[in-house]
């Protein structure tokens, strides 16, 4: 892909990675099929770049994040870190590797042990990876809190004594302790208030500028990830359907699902919001245990073609560097890499 040029292998690359969760029933735990949570994903996170990963609930975003961290084992496929396959690492090697990846979770309250002080929680990664004595650890913890804009006085506090936004920033501080190369942010602002959300989003943008840490920013709202991402990948039912430069994905979506996701975000301007043309997707996301054949989006797609029901759409690389999986670009009216919006305005369909 375009972004990986000079620097050799990408920081992180997944190759056809899959995770199937067995569905067990009854006393004997017989396997009755599988939840195809992540189903053949190729994703590249270049060094010091932020990649946004968006999609509906249940599309497999968190599962992909946990696969990358090796919190769960992939069913098949590879996860490569700086060009090396890490899916086979174990024990000490794996612990060493984990220095490079850190994660920030959605709910700040449940991602901190309620019985531990901030200092105790911030020390945890230091104990695992850094050789520091107690005084150095405290100093480092204080410094980390200042990086995320909090006073060191908070070190003696318990999680419930902090507001959601503060605790989420402490979560970021904890993740930064060991100077990771990649931060995985799993819906880090979804449980926060508007004003606190803005605070934390800004923090990520600033961190990226100063620390040159790469980030995989998971969210279900495109408008949030676009503020910090260079690239955006859109996931649907265990697969990536569109992956390209942030501006291209946000302003010229190439996949009908991306277009629908974008049109569903309400803008806080009554006039614009009410005259916008909105695409309301029918129904819920289908069960990943039994995904539709052909294009997985065909049950809800407003542009569905006959071929979509039968054949998996092939990847299509557009001139602006987006990879999109949709038959519209190769069959039927043939968008050939143009934005879905063109289909509506009739530019293409007339041809």
């Amino acid at each position: 892909m375009t972004a990986i040029t000079s620097a050799g292998p990408a920081l992180l690359e997944t190759r056809q990675v899959r995770k199937l969760f067995p569905i067990e029933r009854g006393l004997r735990r017989r396997v009755h099929g599988h939840v195809r949570a992540v189903d053949g994903v190729d994703l590249v996170v270049p060094r010091a770049t932020t990649v946004g990963l968006v999609g509906e609930s249940g599309s497999g975003k968190s599962t992909l994040g946990r696969l990358v961290l090796r919190l769960i084992e992939p069913t098949s496929g590879q996860v490569c870190f700086e060009g090396n396959d890490i899916t086979t690492l174990h024990g000490r090697e794996l612990r060493e590797l984990r220095r490079n990846f850190q994660i920030v979770f959605q709910d700040p309250y449940s991602s901190f042990d309620a019985t531990a002080t901030m200092l105790d929680s911030l020390r945890e990664p230091m104990r695992a990876h850094l050789e520091l004595d107690a005084a150095q650890q405290t100093a480092r913890a204080a410094e980390l809190l200042e990086i995320v804009g909090m006073s060191p006085e908070y070190l003696t506090r318990y999680p419930y004594e902090l507001s959601g936004g503060q605790l989420q920033r402490a979560g970021v501080a904890r993740a930064l302790t060991v100077d990771p190369k990649l931060l995985i942010l799993d819906e880090p602002v979804s449980s926060l208030d508007v004003s606190t959300q803005a605070q934390v989003i800004n923090l990520f943008a600033q961190l990226q500028d100063r620390l040159h840490v790469a980030m995989l920013f998971i969210a279900h709202d495109l408008s949030i990830v676009r503020h910090v991402s260079e690239r955006i990948a859109v996931m649907y039912l265990g697969r990536i359907v569109e992956d390209g430069p942030a501006a291209a994905v946000y302003d010229q979506p190439k996949h009908p699902y991306t277009e629908a996701l974008l049109s569903a975000i309400p803008v806080p301007n009554p006039v614009r919001q009410r005259e916008r043309r909105r695409i309301i997707l029918e129904g819920d996301i289908p069960s990943p245990a039994n995904p539709p054949a052909g294009c997985r989006f065909h049950t809800r797609c407003p542009y569905v073609l006959d071929v979509c029901r039968a054949e998996d759409p092939p990847p299509f690389l557009t001139p602006d560097g987006t990879t999109v999986f949709c038959h519209l670009h190769t069959s039927g009216p043939q968008l050939e890499g143009a934005s879905i919006g063109d289909l509506r305005t009739g530019d293409r369909s007339a041809q």
Binding site: A128, V194, N269, P270
Partner: protein, 682 residues
């Protein structure tokens, strides 16, 4: 602000925020306070202390030598020198009870502590590591738990032989499996918590995760389990003693005293049985009382941290429980009204008018006002948005309208709510019940906790109808079906028989809506009905709500903190800050030409507003706790336009500059509203 020496070459990326709130009392102190609140617990503790003194000092505090026989005074009834009388050998019963306490206390402590200590690692490892080891350990545990405990203890003690030490060992062995189970179950639950996953992803060793993350969190249930087991240990010892397996005569234990009395005095002097029996019973009772209190105190301290608005799920659940119970039987339960004056109803009366509403909570730290002089109205067929940051008082305001807040701690201190001209705060319980759910209805944020998991969708829909209308089964069923159809649930006939867990989040929220609309209410209060949903499902939900609102000519109060949603669906909006309304007017006016700095800040902070790449606007600081509302304008510590007058002057809600002229009022609470040129949304 001064920076520390910078070892990484990094300056803080954000302005450092200092600690604003005062440190709260330590968790341990709060636990003790909570424990001592009940009289029963205090009595139990006092009794246990008394027994502890007897056990520690034994013969030193006994009035007589417990083993000294005095055949002449055998079987004496209670008297001054022998308060509990003497036994068949003339030994002082009180003294023997005091000395016997040592055995009972020793065995109960020793066995329970030892069993806990053995069970802890078994349960931890079994639960955390899982797999084959877990399978094996739990098979053994299950096998042991299959026998009645006393039978097992007798068998083991019989095998080991007589003697106090062996009995202790037998009781310990019998207790281990139960504790191991308990620890394993707690471990399994804690293991799934995000913070454990966080520790794993940090690279912390398993051993450390177990000792520092899991252990502190399974400690409470184990402590409670153990305190409840003390009673069982006392009983077991007494039982084994009674059978002659434990303390050997002539040394006293409560169990062998019982035995001696049983053998020698059952028919002649039955009261000799009472004393050891009563002491055993009291001891068990005391232990259990303490265990129960400990469980309540521990769970309360875990679930209700000091920041009240972080207990949302429980809050929602409690409110719903309260709602359902009150709808049925209990007569107590409307939010208490302690107002002195009754504000007059506006003329002409809109569908709903909230007039000068103030709400107070009685908390451990004293009385706090959380809603302060709030007035707004909803016209027929109108959708009003109620917005503001977390903790601004949106939910409590909506619950107060329905009078659903529990009293204590809540009180309606001032104001009135007129619904179709009737003052809701003057209604009786039955009058209010007739309105709730029928004319005035509510949808809560979390569809998971708001639906009862034990009943089918159909049951819950029909129940909502039957509370208000006497209809036969067939009609109720048809209506339920029709409602599911109305909220656009596919295959409604089939869904009627399904349980909440079988539906997706979006479906559940639709069902909630169907329940709320079952009796065709005139006003619907929706508290963040879409916050927990995906953007795509939210869009579906908003569309549905809009079409229903038009079709049924429904009035809606829509509580949310998402201004995009307000722009989409609301006609008018009221912005709340620190328990007050700071701006209200039509959505078009307020969003495009805001007159109040807080509204401007909220609009600017929306991620949809800013351009990609630019930093988002952040309102500095935090929402103050109701106990710490600043004087003057409540927004002044965070306001970019603050002037000296803002810090001292009372700021009231007045007609804004362009509102007075227009057809619908635009009210603003700001000293500088006329002179500021604020940015609205683009």
């Amino acid at each position: 602000m001064s920076l520390r020496p910078d070892t990484t070459g990094l300056a803080p990326v954000a302005a450092v925020e200092t600690v604003a709130t005062a440190r709260s009392t330590s968790p341990r102190l709060r636990l003790v306070r909570r424990l001592l609140r009940k009289r029963g617990t205090v009595l139990a503790i006092a009794f246990l202390m008394l027994v502890a003194i007897a056990a520690i000092f034994g013969t030193a505090v006994a009035p007589h030598d417990p083993n000294a026989q005095d055949i002449l005074n055998s079987n004496d009834v209670p008297s001054w020198s022998h308060p509990f009388g003497t036994d068949d050998l003339g030994r002082d019963i009180l003294s023997r009870l005091i000395v016997g306490a040592r055995i009972s206390v020793r065995i109960s402590l020793q066995t329970v502590l030892l069993a806990g200590l053995i069970a802890l690692p078994i349960g931890l490892v079994s639960g955390y590591i899982g797999g084959r080891l877990d399978n094996l350990l739990m098979r053994i545990v299950d096998a042991m738990l299959a026998f009645p405990p006393l039978v097992l203890a007798i068998a083991v003690a019989g095998l080991l032989g007589k003697g106090v030490g062996n009995v202790a060992l037998a009781i310990t062995i019998v207790m281990v499996p139960g504790f191991a189970r308990l620890v394993r179950a707690s471990t399994l639950a804690v293991k799934e918590e995000t913070f454990v996953e966080a520790s794993r992803s940090i690279g912390t060793r398993t051993r450390r995760i177990l000792s520092h993350r899991i252990l502190p969190n399974v400690r409470s249930p184990l402590i409670v389990g153990m305190s409840l087991a003390f009673g069982a240990a006392i009983l077991a010892e007494a039982g084994l003693s009674f059978l002659g397996l434990s303390q050997q005569p002539p040394n006293a234990s409560w169990g062998n005293m019982l035995r001696r009395a049983y053998d020698h005095s059952l028919y002649t002097h039955p009261w000799q049985l009472w004393f050891p029996g009563a002491v055993i019973a009291l001891m068990v009772l005391a232990y259990n009382t303490l265990g129960d209190a400990l469980r309540d105190a521990l769970s309360a301290s875990q679930w209700v941290p000091t920041r009240d608005h972080h207990r949302k799920p429980w809050q929602a659940w409690n409110v719903l429980q309260a709602w359902q119970q009150r709808q049925r039987k209990t007569r107590r339960g409307l939010t208490a009204v302690t107002r002195i004056e009754v504000p007059a109803a506006p003329d002409p009366a809109p569908l709903l008018a909230v007039e000068h509403l103030s709400l107070e909570f009685d908390t451990e730290q004293g009385r706090v006002r959380v809603v302060d002089d709030v007035s707004f109205s909803v016209a027929s067929g109108e959708v009003l948005g109620l917005v503001g940051e977390s903790g601004s008082g949106k939910t409590v305001t909506s619950l107060a309208i329905m009078r659903l807040l529990g009293s204590p701690p809540a009180r309606i201190a001032e104001g009135a709510v007129y619904f179709e001209g009737r003052d809701l705060f003057a209604l009786s319980f039955d009058e209010m019940r007739a309105i709730r759910g029928a004319e005035l209805s509510m949808v809560f944020q979390d569809p998971m906790t708001s639906l009862n998991p034990a009943y089918t969708i159909g049951d819950q829909l029909r129940e909502a109808l039957r509370l208000h209308e006497h209809v036969d089964r067939a009609t109720a069923r048809a209506r339920a079906r029709e409602m599911l159809d109305l909220v656009q649930i596919p295959a409604p006939e089939q869904r009627l028989h399904e349980y909440p867990h079988q539906l997706s989040g979006g479906m559940r929220q639709r069902v909630m809506l169907a329940i709320a609309l079952m009796c065709r209410p005139k006003l619907l209060i929706a508290d963040e009905p879409t916050t927990a949903l995906d953007v795509t499902i939210q869009a579906q939900m908003l569309d549905l709500l809009r079409s229903l609102q038009r079709e049924l000519d429904l009035s809606v109060i829509f509580v949310t903190h998402d201004l995009g949603v307000v722009a989409d669906i609301c006609d008018r909006v009221a912005v709340m800050y620190s328990g007050q309304i700071v701006e209200q007017g039509t959505v078009g006016e307020v969003f495009t030409r805001p007159q109040q700095p807080y509204t401007e800040g909220l609009l600017a902070a929306m991620p949809q507003t800013g351009r990609a790449g630019d930093a988002l606007y952040v309102i500095p600081g935090q929402v103050p706790h109701p106990r710490a509302w600043p004087g003057g304008c409540r927004f002044h510590p965070r306001c970019a336009y603050v002037i000296d007058a803002c810090r001292s002057e009372r700021v009231s809600l007045t007609a804004g500059p362009n509102g007075a002229a227009g057809p619908t009022p635009h009210d603003v609470r700001c000293l500088r509203s006329g002179e500021l040129d604020l940015r609205g949304s683009q």
